[in-house]
């Protein structure tokens, strides 16, 4: 694209009118508090700790209850309840920036406001990033969590090193290893894995891998053939290309149009017609979807097609 040089120079001059704004000191204060909490939460002997002394946490709960404070609506730093699920059951609280770490023999459950719960498996390290009525955000550094969320889409997020899990109203398990690679497995409803321009939609019964620097792979149903799931990994992360497409086409069943629909926009133009033809052979083309528009990756057409295909997923 050629740029009008005058516009560019003028815009650059205008942008110089925007001054650098000094970050408020309160940001570092909250970061420091979060770091202090983290330091005091490092578990020993595999026990869960969240940094707040238990008595202080209980006192805070009591004060909130007595005062009738509507914490969520007036304070961005709303603590979540953390229930230990181990031999020493009890309730702690976790605030913004705090880390929760489970040991080899400990589990925990976090209550996510009033929209659901997150179960934390052993050997998991997780951080609370945001807790607002309209945004709940966790950072899963490693380990495994299972989320059960009953809320409108895009209210609950789990960030990992390679992508963000976006809740679309569902229950799912997300696992992340030390290297930041992970797998999302959805057990009810829908979730998506998002990274940069890439989005993988994952319905119940399906899984999707994710890798650092590459992002989410292609989702597939867990009951798809082993060969299909294996070759998808090679397509996503080893550059298997057309060879992998060939296997996917031959192994696909009707509900594997989930995988084919995602591949349609991820393969090269030479493979795209073959995928389209296989999809049409498995499920009749719905009204409003044309070969021409689908192969041109028209966003509205692909969305309509996905919504129709989803009935078979």
């Amino acid at each position: 694209m050629f740029e009008n040089h005058d516009d560019q120079q003028f815009a650059a001059r205008m942008m110089r009118e925007l001054t650098l704004v000094e970050a408020p000191a309160s940001i570092w204060t909250s970061i420091e508090e979060a770091l202090s909490s983290e330091a005091s939460s490092v578990s020993s002997g595999g026990r869960l700790e969240t940094g707040w002394p238990r008595m202080l946490a209980l006192a805070a709960i009591a004060i909130l209850a007595i005062g009738g404070v509507v914490f969520w609506s007036i304070n961005r730093i709303a603590p979540y309840d953390v229930v230990r699920v181990d031999a020493s059951s009890g309730v702690d609280r976790v605030s913004i920036g705090e880390w929760i770490e489970t040991g080899a023999a400990s589990r925990a459950r976090i209550k996510i406001g009033d929209i659901g719960t997150v179960d934390i498996a052993p050997n998991t390290r997780m951080q609370l990033l945001a807790a607002r009525p309209n945004e709940h955000r966790l950072n899963l550094a490693r380990g495994s969590i299972s989320a059960q969320i009953l809320a409108p889409p895009r209210l609950f997020f789990v960030e990992t090193a390679s992508s963000t899990v976006v809740d679309l109203g569902c229950a799912y398990t997300m696992e992340v290893d030390e290297a930041g690679s992970g797998r999302l497995r959805v057990t009810s409803g829908w979730a998506s894995l998002e990274w940069d321009q890439l989005e993988s939609l994952v319905p119940a019964g399906a899984s999707c891998p994710t890798r650092p620097e590459v992002g989410p792979g292609t989702p597939a149903f867990d009951d798809a053939s082993e060969r299909l799931r294996q070759v998808l990994l090679e397509f996503d992360y080893s550059g298997a290309g057309s060879r992998a497409v060939e296997v996917v086409l031959s192994e696909s069943r009707q509900r594997d149009t989930l995988t084919l629909w995602h591949l349609l926009s991820r393969v090269g133009p030479d493979d795209r017609p073959r995928i389209f033809d296989r999809m049409v052979a498995l499920t009749p083309l719905p009204n409003g979807v044309t070969r021409e528009k689908a192969l041109a990756l028209d966003p509205a057409t692909l969305k309509l097609w996905r919504e129709e295909l989803a009935w078979t997923w």
């Binding site: 560019q8 815009a11 205008m14 704004v21 970050a23 570092w28 945001a130």
Partner: protein, 194 residues
């Protein structure tokens, strides 16, 4: 007392110290980048100081949590601004941010570039530029802010935004055109000042 450092001063030794859990080293990184990160978030979110503070906090906590994965094969600021872009774009996807529109009250709360009479006109221009930037599409807005606050090269921006340099050029071009169109009334005065 924490020394104020520029990007060039942030050496791999500081990052290594952060990896080892050195809190002072992390403070050095924070001090070196906090104002730019906060400013980008502030202008990205239409002057919403609370949102900008939240995003800045998130960015640095996430950065510290992931600093072990910084391999040094790209520049530190490139790596840092990936967190900034992700935090900004993710937050615009949340329902509240989607519903949020440019609120003149928010924009007015930004520090003016001059409050004296002789700076009144300049402050007015700055206010108009803030409003114009706010009205850009998020992906174009973040590209423009990265370009003018961090002075990233096209290649660095492509790395941060995970797109080709061609896409970067296209987004910047569209941003420049939109800004030029919206701020056309200042063309004469801007040229005279130059």
């Amino acid at each position: 007392m924490v020394a104020s450092l520029n990007e060039q001063d942030v050496t791999s030794a500081v990052v290594d110290a952060c990896r080892r859990g050195d809190r002072d080293a992390f403070r050095v990184l924070y001090e070196a980048h906090k104002d730019k990160v906060y400013s980008i978030a502030l202008y990205f979110f239409h002057g919403d100081a609370a949102m900008a503070a939240d995003v800045t906090q998130q960015v640095f906590l996430k950065l510290l949590g992931s600093i072990g994965q910084f391999r040094g094969d790209s520049g530190f600021s490139t790596w840092l601004y990936r967190f900034v872009v992700n935090a900004c774009i993710d937050s615009t996807r949340s329902s509240a941010a989607r519903a949020r529109s440019t609120d003149p009250a928010d924009l007015d709360m930004l520090p003016a570039t001059g409050s004296h009479e002789d700076a009144f006109a300049k402050a007015q221009v700055a206010g108009s530029v803030r409003a114009a930037v706010s009205s850009l599409a998020p992906k174009i807005r973040i590209a423009i802010l990265l370009r003018y606050f961090e002075d990233l090269s096209y290649a660095e921006m492509a790395d941060v935004l995970k797109c080709s340099t061609g896409t970067v050029a296209s987004r910047l071009s569209r941003g420049h055109q939109a800004l030029a169109r919206m701020l056309a009334r200042f063309r004469g005065s801007s040229q005279r000042e130059d």
